[in-house]
Each structure stands twice: as C-alpha cells, then as structure tokens.
C-alpha cells in the first residue's frame, strides 16, 4: 500500500504493469536456443524385454492409412505384449508445426513418421537424431532398398530416417470411360503420342479426359515436377543454391500441361478434389496421383472400374515424382535406454513387416517386401512398383518444401488458371526462390558445417 495512504495513480499502475510485463518477458527471452549439440543416445539393444512401457508415435496418417497403421500396431503389441505403441495422427502440416515445439519443450514423442522432403529440414533443426548406428544394428543396408529411397534418408553425410515406403505418382485410369470412347481399357497409353491420341479420342466422345488440377491443396505442382524431370530438366542445382525450374525443359513441361486445358482436354479451374469426383463418376479418364491416397480411395467406390500404371512418358525418359514415409527418432532432453531399446524393437519389427503396410496403398521401401509373394497379390501396388527405378525425389535441402509450396506451386497454379505465361511465371518464381534459398542456406549454414 502507498505510504501516504493515497491509492496508486493510474499512471503508476500502468508503469507497474509495464514493468511486470517486461520482467516476466525477460526470463523468457533470456533462455537461450535449444541445446543442439550432437545428440548422444545411450546404446540400447533392439530386443526390449523389460517391464511394459508405452511408446508415443506421432504422424500425419489421418486417412484410411491411419486405420491400417493402427492395425499394424495392434499386431505388434500382440507379439510384443510389453510394448504398447500409442499413435497420435494429425494433419501433416499440423504435425510439422507441432512436433518441433514438442521437442523443444521436452515433450517429444519417441517416434515420428515423416515425408522424405521434410527430413533434411528437421535434421538441420536438430529435432531428430542421426540413425546410422540404428540402421546398422537393425541390419538395414542400401542393398536391401531401392537406391533413391535409401539415399533420401541421408543428410549431410549422416542417416536421419528409416524409409518405410515409397509412393510414386502414377496414372490412374477409368476403364469404363476408355472403353466408352472406343479405347482399349486394358492398354492405357504409356507414351506421349498414344496419350495425346487417347485424349483426342475422348474429346471426340465429349469427355475431358485428363482433369488437370489448377488449384490443389495437396500440391498442384507434382505433375509438373514429374514432367520436367521427364523432359530432362531439374528443379534445383546440386547444393540447393539456385532454382533451375525456369529452364527450357520446365517451360516445355508447363506448356504441355497448359495445352491440355486450352484444348479442352481438361476443364478450366479444376480443383484437386474435382478431378477425383469426376473420375469416380465416370466423367474423367485419367488422374495423376499418389497410390497412398488413391488406391484405397478408389477401391472403396463400388462399381468403379479402374486400373493404375506408372505415369506415361511424355518427355524423353520416364520419371515420376515420388515421396516416401520415413521413421525418425525424436530428440529427447534425456534419452532413456529402455525406451530407446523398445523403439528399436518396434522399428525392426515394422520394417521387417512392411509388406503389410502395402495394403494402405504405397509400395514398401524394402526390396525383400516388394519381391515377396504377398506383395505380388496386390495388383494395383505391384503395377505402381514398376516405376521404382524411375522415381525422383525432391533434393535433400533444408527448407526445400517451403520453396516448392510457397513459390513454385502458386506460380504453376497461376499458369494453369490461364492467368500467366509459363516462361514469365517460372522466371519470376525462380527469382523469388533464389532469395528464399539463399536465406535458408544462411539460416541452416551453421548446423550444416
């Protein structure tokens, strides 16, 4: 209370409030960045036999794939009753936002599953730990995997993730629509000439054969990515300092896509969801998309007659954009040997049983799973797997996904909405990407050296 009995004046009170606020903020700001010194987990076996414990596993499997993963976890717990894996699924973008914060605040889950193009970013952030020794311990080597997939887990000379699967964009075709236009439903087009001829035949029958999304929250540019690789282009230079997606190959790729819309082989203003709805209602013949999302989606539609093959080769050589789900181990403030041991046990089991995951749609990353008789019983997945040798991934550059999603994709969308010229849009995007790439390089420089 004030000495002279007067109440504190409003000004005094405000000053007091400001001082308190500043005082409360000070310790927050004083806390330094998180400790990112080399994580040194204790060595642990990959066969946990201690008392029961529960591992926490975060991922973005919110669709039918999530149910499939829970089924696998249940099976695992049956065989290993002392380990329960508790799964939290949230939309991928929420997952990438939340888990680094969980790591920083010491509430990290034990295991995560992430898309390959986010691994480098999170490795550079130091929120996941190197797994070279773990891979050795589990007996996983390059020989056991498709090369591109295996190498996609290596960043800055160290392995940060264990690949579970791979999902190359593929050509889904509606057999009934093809047959109706007089095309052979068992022989979908596989090269540029036959693909364009098929689209013309469909157009003559009044069907826009290839609904090409101009807007797509799932990533409107994946078709473009595949095409420019097919034409011999590349998105970025080797060290991620420069964007190359305004080269002649990329412009040709985007021009080809644009032509589909201009010539009426695709309607205008298509949203990713429209193409899907049209496909399911026999109004669309071809869809380019990932097996993880589409195989289960289409299988669930009664009376839909569809098939899938690798993407047609529109350019000089086959190439398909692909992604891969990969297991990572989150950095903990303090590692617990028992939990790590249980984690390794789980990774070892699920990797060995990854053929069961193929039911969810993607192709297993392990070669022995792809070669197994169980896998060959899945016709759609087996067909998709033919593209494995031609899959292309985004380069392993920290922050690469934000360059794709915030700069390149909007530019492609603008062209496919027929608002911009391909060369001009890609030039602008490349210039903008340059500044973001340079900034990322500087931002992650310290961790990368």
């Amino acid at each position: 209370m004030h000495a002279n009995g007067k109440p504190p004046s409003r000004r005094t009170f405000l000053r007091l409030g400001a001082a308190l606020a500043a005082g409360a903020a000070a310790p927050l700001s004083a806390c330094a960045g998180p400790d990112l010194s080399a994580a040194d987990p204790p060595s642990a076996s990959d066969s946990y036999d201690g008392p029961p414990l529960t591992l926490r596993f975060w991922n973005g499997l919110t669709g039918a794939d999530g149910a499939m993963m829970r089924e696998l976890l249940r099976e695992f717990s049956e065989q290993r009753p002392n380990i329960t894996v508790q799964m939290f699924a949230m939309p991928w973008d929420a997952f990438y936002r939340k888990f680094p914060a969980a790591v920083a605040s010491g509430l990290a889950p034990d295991i995560g599953l992430m898309q390959n193009f986010h691994v480098a970013t999170n490795a550079a952030r130091g929120v996941i730990i190197p797994l070279d020794e773990v891979a050795d311990r589990l007996g996983l080597t390059e020989a056991g995997f498709a090369e591109t997939v295996w190498r996609s887990g290596i960043f800055n000379g160290r392995r940060f993730s264990i690949p579970l699967d791979v999902w190359p964009d593929s050509l889904f075709y509606n057999r009934r629509v093809l047959a109706h236009a007089g095309l052979d439903p068992d022989d979908p087009p596989r090269d540029r000439v036959s693909y364009e001829e098929a689209l013309e035949a469909l157009a003559e029958n009044g069907v826009a054969g290839h609904w090409l999304p101009a807007v797509d929250p799932q990533g409107v540019g994946r078709g473009f990515d595949s095409l420019q690789w097919q034409m011999g282009g590349d998105l970025y230079d080797a060290d991620g300092g420069r964007a190359l997606f305004n080269g002649p190959e990329a412009v040709e790729a985007l021009t080809w896509q644009r032509e589909r819309i201009v010539t009426g082989q695709s309607p205008r203003n298509v949203n990713g969801g429209d193409a899907n709805v049209a496909f399911k209602n026999d109004l669309n013949a071809f869809m380019w998309g990932g097996p993880g999302a589409l195989i289960n989606d289409f299988s669930a539609v009664e009376d839909l007659d569809w098939g899938v093959v690798p993407l047609p080769t529109i350019g000089a050589a086959p190439a398909s954009f692909a992604g891969s789900h990969q297991f990572v181990i989150m950095r903990q403030h303090e590692f617990d040997a028992a939990r790590l041991s249980a984690t390794y046990t789980f990774l070892s089991w699920i990797s060995a049983n990854s053929v069961k995951w193929a039911d969810a749609g993607p192709v297993p990353a392990r070669q022995d799973a792809v070669d197994s008789p169980e896998f060959s019983e899945l016709p759609a997945q087996s067909s998709v797997a033919q593209a494995l040798s031609d899959v292309r991934f985004y380069p392993l550059i920290p922050g690469i996904f934000e360059v794709q999603s915030t700069i390149l994709y909007p530019a492609i969308s603008d062209v496919l909405l027929l608002n911009a010229d391909p060369q001009q849009a890609l030039d602008d995007a490349a210039r903008q990407a340059e500044s973001l790439l340079a900034e990322n390089k500087q931002k992650y420089a310290e961790v990368m050296t």
């Binding site: 998180p34 205008r268 298509v270 949203n271 931002k443 310290e446």
Partner: protein, 322 residues
C-alpha cells in the same frame, strides 16, 4: 474514462466538489485504495499472461533473427522492420501483397457487415409472428466454426462440381463461374460467405441497441409529426451511435484478421491474391519458423489497426460534438 466516472460521482455528491480533488477521490472510492485493483486482478492476471507479456516478448523477438529451433538467434535490431519497407525484397512484396488483400477484404466486407445487419435488426425489432424463429435463423450460421463453413462453401462453390454452378446452369447460365479461382469472383465468394456467416452477430448487437432506445423519444417524434424515415434518421441512428461505433470497430478488426475463410476456400488463389496478412504471418512464423520476421509483420499490422481504430473513434467523437 476515469474522468467521466469522477464526473458522475461529483454529480451525485455536489457537496464534495468544493472540497477539492483529494477528498473527492477518497470519498468516491470509500475505503481501501487498492480495492479496485484487486477487483481487476483476476482479469489482469489473464490479460497479462496471455496478452501483455506475449506482446512485449513479441517486440523482443521481432528484433532478432529468431528461429525457435536454431541455437543462434542473432540480434538484427530493426532489420526485420526495414526489410518490410525495402521495395526490392521478396518478403516485403509478399507481405504488402497480403496487406493489400486484407485491405480489399475490409473495404468490400465492412459496408455490408455494418448495413445489412442494421436493416435486419430493424426488421426483427418489429412485432410479428415467428419473430423469435427468424432471430434464431439469422444467428444460426454464426454458431458454426470457420472450418465447417469453409468446407461447406468449398463444396457449394466448386466451379466444376459445385451445387451453385449446377443450379445456375439450370437457370440458363452457361458459363462456368470460377467462384474460388479467379478475380473478381473470389472476392464475391469470400465477402458473401463472411456476410452470411457473421451477420447474425452484428444483428444481435444492433437489436440490443435498438431495444435500449427510449420509446418516449419515438412518441415525441411522432407528436412532432415525424414519419418513419425521420424517426430513423433523427432518433434511431443518433441513439445507436455508440453501438454503431462498436460494431464498426470490431467489424473492421475482425475483417482485417480474416484467415479461416481464405485459408479454407481459396487458399490464396489465384496466385496469392486472396492470401491475407494473417495467412502470411502464420506461414512465416509457424510453418517456416521465421518468428522474428513474423513478429515484425504482426506489429506493422497491429499498428495500422490501432491507427484505424483511433481514427474511427475520433471521427465518431467529432460528429458527436457537432
């Protein structure tokens, strides 16, 4: 505001006036001097922890190149701010494009959100059968979350497979209208959906205001021979002035903070033209974790909004004096 409260105290205790400032205050607050602050304390605690401290902390963050997860957070001084005003920088062009989108949305949506609910409130303030039902009907959409209305209208407004275009084609509109992918349709959609969604809230506030108007004023006006229009202009509107100021201010602030509708419906299409400032700030800070830059953007936006709100208050106050 404290001054007016003192004034009313004075009015009730005219004897206290000549006694001077000191006595007046003590009598007015009879008893322990800290009491009012103790009453304020629960609110101040919440306000301090969730608003004041983060706001001050935000200034500190905005002066650094701040990434939550990187060990180095170098001090950059006003660098994040000057970058926003550097016409050659990519960040500045993105930010100001989003500010433009935000400004356009405010410009297009606020007039509708202020006038339509007023008209609606006038109608719903009359006595007729089913009045309560209609009051509930117009308020109903406001109960829905933004993700619900976003998803709903995304289906309805879809250019190729949406219900709206389907019915339009039945009515003979052959052109496929790109509601969510081309200007100016994106603005029509965003403003239309927002008006449909939130008009109930402003209507309820207007209704409360209308019911607070002294009916004797209307009687007096009628005695003086005023018609309906005169009643509206000379009784209803002036009496609603404080309510109007409130509605206008919160509507501008709400529209300037628009995020969900654009995020769900257009996701910035075409070519980021409908990407609002909050979307850019969220993307910069919470997806790319460039917190320092995002904090600086937030402060620029906040200062602008504070400026607009202040201007708002002054305009209304000047009118009041007139």
């Amino acid at each position: 505001m404290t001054a007016t409260r003192h004034g009313s105290v004075d009015a009730r205790h005219p004897a206290a006036v000549p006694a001077g400032m000191h006595t007046r205050t003590v009598r007015g607050r009879a008893g322990k001097p800290l009491t009012p602050y103790l009453f304020l304390a629960p609110f101040m605690a919440v306000f301090g922890v969730f608003v004041l401290v983060p706001a001050v902390y935000g200034i500190w963050i905005s002066l650094h190149n701040w990434d939550f997860f990187l060990p180095e957070r170098p001090w950059v001084g006003l660098g994040n701010y000057t970058e926003l005003f550097d016409p050659t920088s990519f960040v500045a062009s993105e930010f100001w494009q989003s500010m433009r989108a935000t400004g356009l949305f405010v410009l297009f949506s606020v007039p509708f959100l202020v006038t339509i609910p007023l008209g609606l409130a006038l109608l719903l303030n009359r006595t007729f059968r089913g009045r309560t039902f209609f009051r509930a009907v117009y308020f109903a959409p406001y109960v829905l979350g933004v993700s619900v209305i976003g998803l709903l209208w995304q289906y309805l407004l879809n250019a190729n497979v949406g219900l709206v275009n389907h019915y339009l084609s039945r009515l003979g509109v052959d052109e496929v209208i790109p509601w969510l992918t081309a200007t100016p349709w994106v603005w029509v959609s965003l403003v239309g959906v927002t008006v449909w969604w939130t008009l109930g809230f402003n209507t309820v506030i207007y209704l409360a205001g209308l019911q607070g108007i002294d009916t004797t004023l209307y009687e007096a006006a009628r005695v003086d021979g005023a018609g309906r229009r005169h009643e509206f202009w000379h009784v209803t509107l002036p009496s609603l002035r404080p309510v109007l100021l409130f509605v206008l201010t919160i509507t501008i602030l709400a529209s300037a903070n628009m995020f969900g509708q654009a995020y769900m419906l257009t996701n910035g299409a075409p070519n980021n033209e409908t990407r609002t400032a909050i979307m850019v700030i969220a993307e910069t800070g919470l997806e790319q974790f460039r917190m320092g830059r995002a904090a600086a953007m937030s402060y620029v936006l906040a200062l602008l909004l504070i400026g607009i709100s202040t201007l708002n208050f002054f305009l209304f106050r000047r009118q009041e004096k007139n």
